[in-house]
């Protein structure tokens, strides 16, 4: 080995050590606040936990918890499939609507700055309890959702329309549509932001060249905008999936699986073991869906980049 090459490999090794130094805080945090609790929770999922005065006692039950929720619990499997079905139509809807709005907001017109700030507004208010509470669906002290606080959504709108003398059938139809649009739009903030920033990176010359060849705006969308947005679409699909899987929920609204897991573990029964196994199964499902999304969209995105 020549001196120079030796120097370089030494340098490389030293740099590798610096790399570990930079991520060391994370590694410690990962061990303390993730890996150890995660292993414990995995262990819990194979046990039955009993609360007692001195703490809790574990009894090894093997895969009983998993068998119970899959085979004997009448509620959990329907909740899971319900969540999956809902996601299967919500994710495409959110992503396509976001792309559509981003394309509109990328065009130059008067008032664009105003509309942009309105469409990113959900980023501010969608996360967490504020949104759920504002939807008027929560009585969070007990975490059992009841439709009692008519804070947000279209109940207020319905009042206004009824007050204006509209027949109730029309009012109901209007509120239904507004509610759907509202709840979907509320999930689009970050996605619109990402699409828009991606669209702004497409050089204007690309469009100019295609305009010279006589392409219409419609052609441009399919031949330039959409293909070049594919990598961001993948990012958005993943973000939307994770966001909807992680969403806060109550029995009646939001993410019902999360609510059920919480209720099992921290409700009246304190069935930590069962709750742990539920969440592990749920996590496995999330991973599968993400892998599927990657398989479907990842290749298309990679082909575009090549």
């Amino acid at each position: 080995m020549s001196n120079k090459a030796l120097d370089r490999s030494l340098l490389k090794r030293r740099k590798a050590r610096w790399g570990w130094l930079f991520i060391a805080p994370w590694a410690l945090g990962f061990a303390l606040f993730f890996a150890l609790p995660a292993f414990e929770s995995l262990y819990f999922s194979l046990n039955s936990l009993k609360m007692s005065a001195t703490g809790f006692q574990t009894t090894w039950v093997g895969l009983d918890n998993y068998a119970f929720m899959l085979l004997r619990d009448a509620k959990f499997v329907p909740l899971l499939t319900g969540e999956l079905v809902e996601m299967a139509y919500r994710v495409p809807l959110v992503v396509i609507l976001s792309l559509f709005i981003a394309v509109l907001l990328n065009q130059p017109f008067r008032g664009r700055a105003f509309f942009r700030s309105v469409f990113f507004l959900p980023v501010i208010i969608t996360s967490g309890v504020v949104y759920v509470l504002l939807q008027g669906i929560i009585n969070a002290n007990t975490l059992s959702g009841t439709q009692n606080a008519y804070i947000f959504q279209s109940q207020g709108l319905a009042e206004v329309l009824i007050g204006a003398g509209m027949p109730s059938a029309i009012v109901n139809a209007v509120s239904e549509v507004v509610n759907r649009v509202f709840s979907i739009l509320m999930e689009c903030g970050v996605q619109i932001l990402l699409f828009l920033s991606g669209l702004q990176k497409i050089p204007a010359s690309t469009y100019e060249a295609s305009a010279i060849e006589g392409a219409s705006a419609w052609d441009n969308f399919w031949r330039i905008t959409l293909p070049l947005s594919l990598p961001i679409m993948l990012l958005n699909v993943i973000y939307t999936i994770i966001d909807s899987f992680m969403a806060f929920g109550t029995e009646n609204a939001g993410n019902k699986v999360m609510a059920a897991i919480h209720q099992t573990g921290f409700g009246s029964q304190f069935q930590f073991g069962l709750a742990a196994s539920m969440s592990w199964l749920y996590m496995l499902l999330i991973t599968l869906v993400l892998v599927l999304a990657f398989a479907l969209l990842g290749r298309a995105a990679r082909n575009m980049e090549a």
Binding site: K15, A16, W18, G19, F22, P25, W26, A27, L28, G29, F30, L32, F33, F34, P37, A38, E40, S41, A113, S117, V118, F119, L121, V123, I124, I125, S127, G128, V129, V130, L133, L134, N139, A140, N141, N148, A149, Y150, I151, F152, G156, L157, V160, V181, F182, L193, L194, S197, Q200, K201, I202, L235, M246, F248, M258, I261, H262, S279, M283, I286
Partner: protein, 329 residues
Amino acid sequence: MSMPLRKHTPSLKARLRRAARIGFKLGRFALLLALSFVLIYPLLYMLSNAFKPFMQTYDPAVIWLPKSLTMENINDAVQILDFGKAALNTLQTAVVTSVIQVAACMVVGYGFARFNFRGSKIAFLLVVLTMIVPQQTISTSLYTTYRYFDPLGIMSLLSLVTKGALENHLNLIDKPWLFWLPAMLGMGLRSGIYIFVYRQFFLSMPRELEEAAEIDGCNPVSTFWHVMLPNAGTVVLTVLLFALVWNWNDYYTPAMFMKNHNTLATALASFQSNLQNLGAIGGNYTDTALVATRMQAAGLLVIAPLLILYAFTQRFFVQSVERTGLTGM
């Protein structure tokens, strides 16, 4: 003068195209306006109700603009939320935590972006893993971790050395440290996303910058400090904004681990039942209109700081995400 122009009337085709363009513009504007209304409506509703005397809810003549304004709803909401205390707690759990996250995730993201070392790919995969494991999965164990906090047996050791003068664990429950410690170690709320964003950003920095610094005798830490950091303004601000918003609105963590210290989010969650408890000791706190107006006022109080922050930073949002390199092509 204008006479000759009139002779050339545009062809039918050109006129149709013009009409189509105007139609498209009008349609676009109408659609955006309608969708915007759906998004702004809740805020307007909130604003209208927060300052409305509740009896006017029953007045059919009052739809948006109350006949008179009142501070009663706001005053009641301030009391029931225990606003001062909850805001101070939120300052600790959300604002301080966000600042810590911004700094810690930057260091870690930089490590993942600029160094090639064995295990870095697997470690980064584990970062992604922390993003997809629901909090609920590990929160039971996290509770005992915080309640009997004894990292790597250090507290036990200290207890042994001091012959029991120190306890063999710390109790972090109900203390802001349970937000700050994980944040310092890159494991705060959604820290995985921030590490990811920082990594993408630092990946986009030119190699030459680093090499030039090394020739000038910088070690990796001083390169990071003197060369990379001054260029990271936008990504820092982006992460800070998102961290502020997500920490501010987070309900799960404070509800799980801060039983005796309400943040604004948890105070808002229990607002209605607290309001109705007031009704139990006299007072007319069960009237639905009264409950609704008070709740609107409380909701407004909780998100007002975020809305003000957003009003000042919204122009920056699109540019910032663009410049982080997250959507780089």
